[in-house]
């Protein structure tokens, strides 16, 4: 049996490194497209200020991109170093999108990023524009493949267990590609990235407008960011990934936990706006409810039910019992009894093998648990309701705040009076953290909501870890914390320094600090 400490530490390390990585990824996704839009305007109008915009925002893009690359490496190494059994058990399916991500997306993005920074004088205007677009497309393609991989963890379609090789194997690549969970996740995630890029440009441009410097540069940046941001935030909200919660048992459980739906109510269910979920007593205290709304947003219908947690628990307990049979039959198969009857019996119940494996946390044999262990394993299938409930609301709240901001910014920018609205500029500046809050809480909901599984209904997290010692994982965790803290301080220092300096950092002689005093830095 694997030590609990190794599993918990590996989870902590994965959560920390993934969330840290996702500080940089959304900005890359969004800024890449903004750069491509700005450069398109430059090529179409020939106005120098748009090239300066590409170069300046590109400088900040580069500072961010470097850490995105750095922290992405950790993610690829970590599946192998800390989640070796996971890698073996699902590598046949999960590895493919990662490898294709490398071939299709990383090469594209990384080869052309070099030309983006250093090719200004070597490439024609159109060639350079194409390069910038290819960087943007490459980064978005990489999001597509990683979310196909992640979508499969949430809703593992197109694969089945092979008892001879003791792993899941791919049966339907099309199902993996067109997994509905992956599709909504992709749209939701890249649009959230565009919002991040837009807020970033909007906030920093507002800072220049508030300081009344480089106004022509800032006003144009503000205009592009507000339009792009408004379109993006609408996509994030309208195409919010709630629609992905209809498929797959774990997605349903996640939805029930997010909404603290303890009981199955007649459709359309009421939406709990706020409340105090109490997992032990399975109820929500102080709930403020809005009738019908949950049924509408979760099922996009008025007649489909949202299954409550108590009913899900009953279903899960039944599946654990079937899973015990599946495990028993698997043992028979592996002991050499591969008769047609045994194989057929295993085929009939193997979809619940994963539920049986949940018992591995309590008993090595799986087939002989106590009643209390079965009950405990069933309770394990419900993630922490309180934290999911509130993280989700933080994400949605941040989203609506940004919607209001972009609407006002777009309106002001269209009427060309944003400079006369310091309240708007300050609001935009102080909204800078919002997309990161939304992204981090959103990923927390998606991934903590998947617990206790690493692959929904297939492989429990506690079986997925490597056979390494807890001292090893402590060591790597502490080293990563140390490295990441230092890197974050350096990155923030450079980012703030160059953001404050503004386009003067290009040393073109056209901007604020170069006119007032001799250039430096």
């Amino acid at each position: 049996m694997i030590s609990e400490a190794v599993v918990d530490l590996s989870r902590l390390q994965f959560a920390m490194t993934a969330m840290y990585h996702f500080l940089f990824v959304p900005l890359t996704l969004g800024l890449a497209f903004l750069l491509a839009i700005m450069e398109s305007v430059y090529v179409m109008t020939g106005k120098q200020v748009y090239q300066d915009m590409v170069k300046f925002w590109g400088k900040l893009f580069g500072i961010n991109f470097a850490l995105g690359v750095t922290t992405g490496l950790t993610m690829e190494f970590q599946f192998g170093t800390n989640w070796a059994y996971y890698s073996h058990y699902v590598g046949d399916i999960f590895g493919a999108p990662l490898a294709i991500e490398g071939l299709m997306a990383f090469f594209l993005e990384s080869t052309f990023i070099g030309l983006f920074f250093f090719g200004w004088e070597r490439l024609s205007k159109l060639q350079h524009l194409a390069v910038t677009w290819l960087v943007a497309i490459g980064s978005n393609m990489s999001a597509l493949w990683i979310l196909i991989a992640n979508g499969w963890m949430q809703n593992p379609v197109g694969a089945e267990f092979n008892y001879q090789t003791m792993r899941m194997e791919l049966t339907d690549f099309g199902a993996l590609l067109f997994n509905p969970v992956a599709q909504v996740k992709f749209v939701h995630t890249v649009a959230a990235g565009y919002v991040t890029g837009a807020i970033f440009v909007l906030a920093i441009s507002s800072y220049y407008l508030l300081k009344k410097r480089d106004q022509g540069f800032a006003r144009r940046s503000f205009a592009i960011a507000s339009a792009f941001g408004l379109a993006s935030i609408l996509s994030v909200i309208v195409l919010g990934d709630e629609s992905g919660y209809e498929v797959g048992d774990v997605q349903k459980t996640k939805l029930a936990a997010i909404e603290a739906e303890w009981d199955t109510h007649p459709a359309p269910a009421a939406f709990t706006l706020i409340g105090w979920p109490n997992q032990e007593e399975q109820r929500t205290d102080y709930a403020v409810k809005i009738p019908y709304v949950l049924g509408l947003i979760a099922t996009r219908s008025i007649d489909k039910e949202v299954t409550g947690i108590k009913d899900l628990l009953v279903q899960h307990e039944a599946r654990i019992r079937t899973g015990m049979q599946a495990y028993g039959l698997l043992e028979q198969l592996r002991a050499g009894d591969t008769s047609d009857a045994t194989r057929a019996a295993f085929e009939a119940v193997k979809q619940d093998l994963g539920y049986g494996l949940l018992l591995k946390k309590y008993t090595a044999n799986v087939v002989d648990p106590t009643e209390a262990q079965i009950q405990q394993a069933a309770l394990d299938t419900i993630p922490n309701v309180f934290s999911l409930f509130w993280s989700f609301r933080a994400m949605v709240g941040a989203g609506f705040l940004m919607l209001a901001l972009f609407a006002c910014a777009f309106w002001a920018s269209a009427r060309k009076n944003e400079e006369r609205k310091p309240w708007l500029l300050k609001w935009a500046l102080f909204s800078l953290p919002l997309p990161w809050i939304a992204a981090q809480t959103g990923w927390y909901v998606a991934e903590h909501g998947r617990q206790p599984w690493s692959i929904a209904e297939v492989l429990p997290t506690h079986l997925s870890a490597s056979s390494v010692s807890s001292a090893d994982v402590w060591g790597s965790l502490l080293a990563l914390i140390a490295f990441y803290s230092v890197l974050l301080v350096i990155e923030m220092y450079l980012m703030i320094r160059f953001a404050r300096l503004g386009p003067s950092s290009l040393h073109t002689g056209r901007y604020h600090f170069e006119q007032a005093q001799p250039a430096h830095a």
């Binding site: 690359v69 490398g102 090469f107 030309l115 003791m166 830095a521």
Partner: protein
């Protein structure tokens, strides 16, 4: 399409191609960064070195990332057992690689000597460590790694990081380090001029000799020493899905040389390693950067093929439990996954080669200190 056995062989070739691609491309930028303190005496000179690789290091590094992804997808058991078993070696490489993206991008953003010198050291160490560890890891494959599987195919590893540093493995580390530094040196001969090119020339000459000594030394060690390779004595049908534990492996392949006796024409690989390095040495001596780079490239291809041919069909031999050794026949993904990945590789690898060559062609030419001074704020 291809039968399963054929696909298993093709993926052995493709993983090799990705590793060779990594060594050929990221190899010269690792090598150049490892030569940074030797060939760049002033800040401007070091910026020349960095800017010869500035537009390319990121794309080059993707060869490594894709090789990792391909390992995950095509040989999941190798990925699982190697990455968790070689835990600290891999983390060491990871931490070293951390320094590179930030080092390249941040180094010249501030005009502060201490800041820049710190990053220069970071880039040097960040190149040195992976270059050595990759060789040490390969050396350990010849010695066998102390890992095994239980009956659910969960891997466990009975060894420590320090045990990897045996004399033979360290010699293999010298092979990889000198090979990549040679490659970096010949690259800099082509892409720089004056004092930097002259120092790179000296470095390439020295590295070529060190490489030749270490590479031939490894060969002699295998031939005359006490390292015993493995050989499969019994295995199921190789065109079917196999569990690695269901085979019999014997340790009766002295020095891993059986394949070279069985298939004598494979001896071109070690010959190429030696002749490539000899060509690099001769061309470096004659001051011909292009030929020297061709020589170091051939040496890389020869060296990696030498190791791959010797170990075949093993890809990760075990010293703990011979049957747990992973081979191209039983460490692989399903027929379907290998087929789909092959289609993806056939579409994208030619495209990648095409636009990579275009990007090199566009950025070709010598980087000079004058160029650095004139573009101080837009270059690395």
């Amino acid at each position: 399409m291809f039968d399963y056995e054929m696909l298993k062989l093709i993926w052995w070739v493709l993983v090799g191609v990705l590793l060779i691609g990594f060594a050929l491309t990221d190899g010269f930028d690792l090598g150049a960064a490892a030569l940074l303190p030797i060939v760049g005496k002033t800040d401007d000179e070091r910026r020349v070195v960095i800017n010869t690789i500035a537009p390319h290091w990121d794309g080059n590094q993707v060869w490594l990332i894709t090789a990792g992804g391909a390992l995950f997808a095509a040989w999941p058991l190798v990925y699982a057992a190697a990455f968790s078993g070689l835990y600290w070696a891999l983390l060491l490489v990871l931490f070293a690689l951390f320094v590179r993206p930030v080092g390249f991008d941040y180094r010249s953003k501030l005009d502060n000597t201490r800041w820049r010198q710190s990053w220069d050291w970071g880039l040097f160490v960040g190149a040195l460590i992976p270059s050595v560890v990759f060789g040490v890891a390969f050396g350990n494959l010849f010695l066998g790694l102390p890992f095994g599987f239980d009956d659910t195919l969960r891997s466990s590893y009975q060894g420590s990081f320090w045990q990897l540093l045996s004399p033979f493995a360290l010699l293999a580390g010298v092979v990889s380090l000198s090979m990549l530094m040679l490659h970096g040196g010949t690259w800099l001969m082509m892409r720089s001029e004056g004092a930097i090119a002259a120092r790179s020339q000296r470095a390439a000459q020295v590295c070529a000799l060190v490489f030749l000594a270490a590479f031939i030394g490894c060969g002699v060690w295998l031939w005359q020493g006490d390292i015993v390779g493995l050989h499969i004595s019994q295995i199921g049908a190789v065109d079917s899905a196999l569990n690695p534990l269901n085979k019999t492996v014997l340790a009766d392949n002295p020095g891993w040389l059986a394949n070279y006796q069985l298939y004598p024409h494979t001896k071109w690989a070690p010959m190429l390693g030696i002749l490539g390095a000899a060509l690099a040495f001769a061309a470096a001596t004659a001051g011909r950067g292009g030929f020297a780079f061709a020589g170091s490239s051939l040496a890389i291809v020869g060296t990696l093929c030498t190791a791959g041919f010797a170990l075949f069909p093993f890809v990760m031999p075990s010293s703990l439990d011979l049957a747990s050794s992973l081979t191209v026949w039983d460490a692989v993904s399903s027929h379907k996954t290998l087929g789909i990945m092959l289609v993806a590789a056939c579409i994208f690898v030619p495209l990648i080669l095409l636009y990579t060559l275009w990007s090199y062609a566009k950025m070709w030419g010598k980087v000079s200190t004058a160029h650095i001074q004139n573009n101080s704020h837009s270059l690395y």
